[in-house]
Symmetry: C2
Subunit: 330 residues, 2 copies
């Protein structure tokens, strides 16, 4: 899948340095976000941080996709409404626009579709789409923002998720050391990291972890060579299709910012990147790596941390006397 | 208490306009924060947003003193560890440096002392001071930041709360319309708001709500003329002293940004400012205000919303392999 993408980006960028450095590599540099509708992105940012989209008034998108923490919550599985223990590790929202689909099982085709899921999930934000819209409609500043961006008077739930998705599309992390290396700065990564990258390619990690997101473009079986031992009951795509061949098929996670998005795998069972690399090599590639090899690959993975979100803390518009009250304890 | 303060600020500022406009008023304009140790403030900001100071790894200072929402959580009482229902309304952290003491009952003398409370409260962040320090010591970037700011190698809990307090001291909200009016811009507030301010003074609200914070400088009995009806068992200062005369004695809350810090009172029982004004006038002053009078005072209170926090979302340093893991579910 990455070759057409590479060609496309090669044509779009057209830079000699870029062509020379990156065109032969299966990983592509992250492109900075191009913001075409700043008002929509600002609205989406407010909504992303607004806990009033939850029943409790306490949980926002940012609670589990914390932009101060690599776009994740750094927990094995998330905490939801009424301290519900979530079933699966919260994937980073950073660079999620590059994924072929959303959620570990890909059940949402788009970021917009994804954004509606947690709001109405009883174990996450515990609300309903209608009630979330009722809250937003009661807030004059939101009314004005939606009218400005979407042109009509009512606030529609599709516009809510559209704005959140537009904000999320800006959450890309360019300028990682590895990307600078791809673009020709050979001093941007250490010799150990460069060795790690060669190993990452030669042993086959790159077969799934490639492209701009270094993953996110395919579904693969967790435990291809050797079964993955876990107490987590998630079955991946089979949970949607019921088909045996889809058991343990999960979306390949992005490795962008992987040093920030611990703990790892869909069950969040591994906290250290070195352990995660060892497990992946054994279970997916049938290969036992030496300690040195693991260290080299970890050094490479550490170079995938890009520029983190860089914006002002959003200030949320206040509720009005008409705003339905949050209900955290009933 | 406010007259010496006024004199002090008058001497410090020395501006003719300020002196002429504000010296005769019992409310003082909020002074912008003067940041003398930027590194300490930045460190404190990270700590304020860092959920790793809680047992769950999910709750930070900002969870209940949300700087996107007037420095409060806009809930009657807060949600704590394991979805514990808190006993009292979370006061705004904005302008809290101006308070004579911290918490509704004033049990912490300083912001620094206050900052330690929620971290080790089983129903709030559910951690211990020692465990919080263990987490911070395991994070190389925090080690470096503490060494830079405090000069020694170990991280001490007193330094943690000192840095958080230093950040909180910057959370002042100057430039409210009412402050611009105080400073001579007579068009900064509406005629209705100006009438409301005159009423606020003439009926006696200003006896307790005065000074720079428009409150925060004294303790008063909730229900001075008529008892306050509430299901909340909090007894205010009497909870500390056991003395009958301290029953229902609470710190007078600041009215700065009061339009953002609903719901109101220590039990968070009133969501609308107009209701809160009506209750206060009846219970504290023995006065039943007309609808117009309430509207005027609310219009005045709305002019107390100042500049909200204006900084970049902090990016937190990642944990290391040595970092103790959060324990949200045990």
């Amino acid at each position: 899948m990455y070759r057409p993408l590479m060609l496309m980006f090669g044509l779009m960028l057209g830079g000699e340095a870029w062509g020379a450095a990156a065109a032969n590599e299966p990983i592509l540099p992250v492109q900075p976000a191009k913001i075409t509708d700043a008002a929509k992105v600002e609205l989406g940012k407010q909504l992303f941080f607004d806990p009033r989209l939850s029943k409790s008034g306490f949980i926002s998108c940012n609670s589990c996709h914390n932009l101060s923490m690599g776009g994740s919550d750094n927990l094995p599985t998330s905490i939801g409404h009424n301290w519900h223990q979530g079933p699966i590790n919260s994937p980073t929202v950073l660079n999620s626009s590059m994924s072929v689909a959303q959620f570990w099982d890909g059940r949402a085709a788009t970021l917009q579709e994804q954004a509606g899921g947690p709001i109405s999930n009883p174990g996450e934000m515990g609300f309903t789409h209608d009630l979330a819209v009722d809250v937003l409609r009661s807030i004059p500043q939101y009314q004005a923002s939606f009218k400005k961006v979407y042109g009509d008077d009512g606030i529609k739930f599709d516009d809510v998720t559209n704005a959140i998705a537009a904000f999320e599309e800006t959450l890309v992390t360019p300028n990682a050391p590895f990307d600078r290396w791809l673009l020709g700065d050979k001093k941007a990564i250490s010799a150990t990291a460069a060795q790690g990258y060669q190993l990452f390619k030669s042993i086959g990690c790159v077969a799934c972890h490639n492209g701009e997101a270094v993953g996110g473009s395919t579904f693969q079986k967790m435990g291809m060579v050797e079964p993955y031992a876990t107490k987590n009951p998630a079955q991946g795509v089979a949970g949607l299709t019921g088909k045996d061949q889809d058991r343990m098929m999960f979306k390949v996670p992005t490795l962008r910012n992987v040093a920030l998005t611990y703990p790892y795998f869909h069950d969040g069972a591994y906290w250290n990147l070195s352990e995660a690399v060892d497990v992946m090599a054994r279970l997916q590639l049938g290969r036992k790596l030496s300690t040195d090899e693991v260290s080299q690959i970890v050094a490479f993975l550490d170079t995938l941390t890009g520029d983190q979100p860089d914006f002002k803390l959003p200030i949320l518009p206040p509720s009005s006397a008409k705003t339905p009250r949050p209900a955290p304890f009933n």
